[in-house]
């Protein structure tokens, strides 16, 4: 079987020859570590990206079958993005830097971390109308490379054996990335609730049209994929009720679009504890939980399967921190993955990018063993 076939079969509860060894990518710092340790050539870091040639090369070296995040789309973000620039320097060497989404983040050069939100541009209606709405304009000819997607099937799809996805964008995560958590909160609940709804709807409509245009070229995809990242260890970053009010219609519309184009596997990337937002996703067509972060709270997949039945599939759920420990820890995860796989409709995958300290030989071992758990 090809990876495409075995993945499709597993996610449709059909027999497959074996489990694929699927991953989610790596921290750059880990690749640098492995290069320093002599496991990989440093040239792999040049131009590495998910699903790219260097990623594929690493797959062959390590024994992975593929990266789940092998996705394509038009430009469904702010276009053009805001200028990346330093707006303030602090005495301790840290900087306030404007990023492409119009958020000013506090970073410290050399410190590898999720940055702190320092300030943001999208504060009121005027900022939205003058700075952001123009960047959300459709301009379909600029957003979609019709020539690329016109040749996609012959140039790419038919030449690879791994599942390829269309990226549907982000209904709420991107909005948070433009407003900051603080800004999102103030707009949603106090400053201008109507504006917040307008921002969500405007951006979502643009993303929908981009996905539609890509699919209407006839380009084939095996699955669709969202990114959100709007949960943390304490649950969702916003009220599930408000989330449903603002977002459900957008998920539903994209699901209908996917179904019209023969795509029935729709995955959504959200870290943290996703339980309270799952109903909105599942009820509106998202059927693959990814990457099912284990964190300090444990497995989320089995609970979701008990609640939603076979309407919920999973790719993820493997505690990546085991790969920083020892064979015993990896074996314990393999046993757990075997058990989750036996539920059907589940493909193990590390629950986020492999982090610094992950041991090369343990990762190779994991790849060998995960393929044996069978299906």
């Amino acid at each position: 079987m090809t990876n495409r076939e075995r993945t499709s079969n597993i996610l449709h509860f059909k027999a497959a020859d074996r489990m694929p060894a699927v991953h989610f990518g790596y921290w750059t710092e880990l690749l640098e570590e492995w290069a320093g340790q002599g496991y990989i050539d440093r040239s792999i870091l040049d131009g590495y990206y998910d699903g790219g040639p260097k990623d594929n090369e690493l797959d062959r070296i390590i024994g992975w079958d593929y990266n789940w995040q092998h996705v394509f789309c038009g430009n469904n973000g702010l276009m053009p993005r805001f200028e990346h620039k330093v707006v303030k320097e602090f005495p301790d060497g840290s900087q306030a830097v404007q990023n492409g989404n119009g958020i000013i983040e506090k970073i410290h050069p050399g410190v590898i971390s999720i940055p702190a939100e320092y300030d943001y541009l999208l504060k009121d209606r005027e900022a939205f109308e003058t700075l952001f709405k123009p960047k959300m304009a459709l301009n379909i000819e600029k957003r979609v490379d019709f020539d690329f997607f016109g040749r996609f099937n012959t140039d790419i799809y038919e030449k690879t054996d791994v599942p390829l996805g269309i990226h549907l964008g982000s209904v709420m995560g991107s909005i948070r990335d433009m407003t900051s958590v603080m800004g999102m909160s103030y707009l949603m609940y106090d400053d201008d609730e109507e504006l917040f709804g307008d921002i969500v709807d405007t951006f979502a409509e643009m993303q929908y049209e981009v996905a539609k245009a890509v699919l209407e070229t006839g380009a084939k995809f095996d699955y669709a994929h969202y990114w959100e990242d709007i949960c943390f260890n304490g649950g969702p970053l916003l009220s599930p009720t408000l989330f449903e009010e603002l977002c459900a219609k957008h998920y539903k519309k994209r699901t209908e679009l996917c179904h019209r184009h023969g795509i029935d596997i729709i995955s959504l990337d959200c870290d943290g504890v996703v339980e309270k937002l799952l109903p909105v996703w599942v009820e509106n067509g998202v059927n693959v939980m990814f990457p099912i972060e284990v964190g300090t709270w444990g497995d989320q997949f089995e609970k979701a399967r008990k609640r939603f039945g076979n309407a919920v599939l999973g790719v993820g759920g493997m505690d990546k921190t085991a790969l920083r420990k020892d064979k015993k820890a990896v074996d314990a995860e393999l046993e757990r993955m075997k058990r989750l796989a036996s539920l059907g409709g589940f493909i193990p995958c590390p629950d986020h990018r492999l982090m610094p300290g992950s041991k090369f030989e343990l990762v190779v071992y994991y790849c060998e063993e995960i393929k044996k758990i069978g299906w």
Binding site: Y186, Y189, D190
Partner: protein, 215 residues
């Protein structure tokens, strides 16, 4: 409803402008500033804290409530100072060295301030020596340490070690939290408390201070 109840309701609803207007009006009419603080602003924030713990409200509601409370506090501060009101105690709070993430830390700070505790916020990527310095400078009794990443959580131990080395470990209570942190980890590194969420952190900080102050 009296002013205190009105203020509490508007804090809960996150209505900053209305909180400011109510506090100004209340002060103008001679209301007791300490009552406005404890039975108005803090009472509202405490309701939000309880609801947050129970997952009845979420991060945005906490943030808008905290903003409303802080705006009200800014109006109330001069009157409180005149009345000689003192905070319950002082806490130093930061995200540890190597970690720039601050949402969790900010939520804890808001909740702790909602309990009448003065918070000295050192920001993010803070080294252990700076924490020790801040504790000594401010006479803080509580140290709150946040870490988001598995790769940075060990810096929480560095702070505890630094407090020991400085001879002030027994003068403070150390609270740790953050996504990768567990009770087991907190025990391993010698922290006094681990809390899962910001509301619990505030509750624990208040209890600890009352214990330390003999109340």
């Amino acid at each position: 409803m009296g002013y205190c109840e009105d203020i509490a309701e508007k804090v809960i609803g996150g209505k900053a402008k209305e909180v400011v207007a109510l506090v100004e009006q209340a002060l103008a009419e001679g209301e007791n500033p300490e009552d406005l603080l404890t039975k108005g602003l803090m009472a509202g924030m405490n309701v939000i804290g309880e609801k947050f713990k129970l997952n009845e409200v979420f991060v945005p509601e906490v943030l808008v409530a905290a903003r409303a409370m802080n705006k009200g506090m800014q109006v109330l501060k001069p009157a409180l100072a005149k009345a000689g009101a003192e905070p319950l105690g002082k806490a130093v709070i930061c995200t540890v060295k190597g970690d720039m993430h601050d949402i969790g830390k900010n939520l804890v700070k808001m909740m702790i301030e909602g309990r009448g505790i003065e918070c000295i916020d050192l920001g993010t990527d803070v080294d252990a020596e700076r924490v020790v310095e801040a504790v000594k400078e401010n006479g803080a009794q509580i140290v709150c340490l946040s870490a988001l990443l598995t790769t940075t959580m060990n810096a929480q131990k560095d702070v505890i070690d630094a407090l020991v080395a400085a001879g002030i470990r027994d003068k403070v209570r150390v609270m740790v939290g953050g996504a990768p942190v567990t009770q087991e980890f907190a025990n391993e590194i010698g922290a006094d408390y681990y809390t899962l969420d910001a509301a619990s952190a505030a509750e624990v900080a208040e209890k600890a201070l009352k214990e330390m102050n003999g109340k």
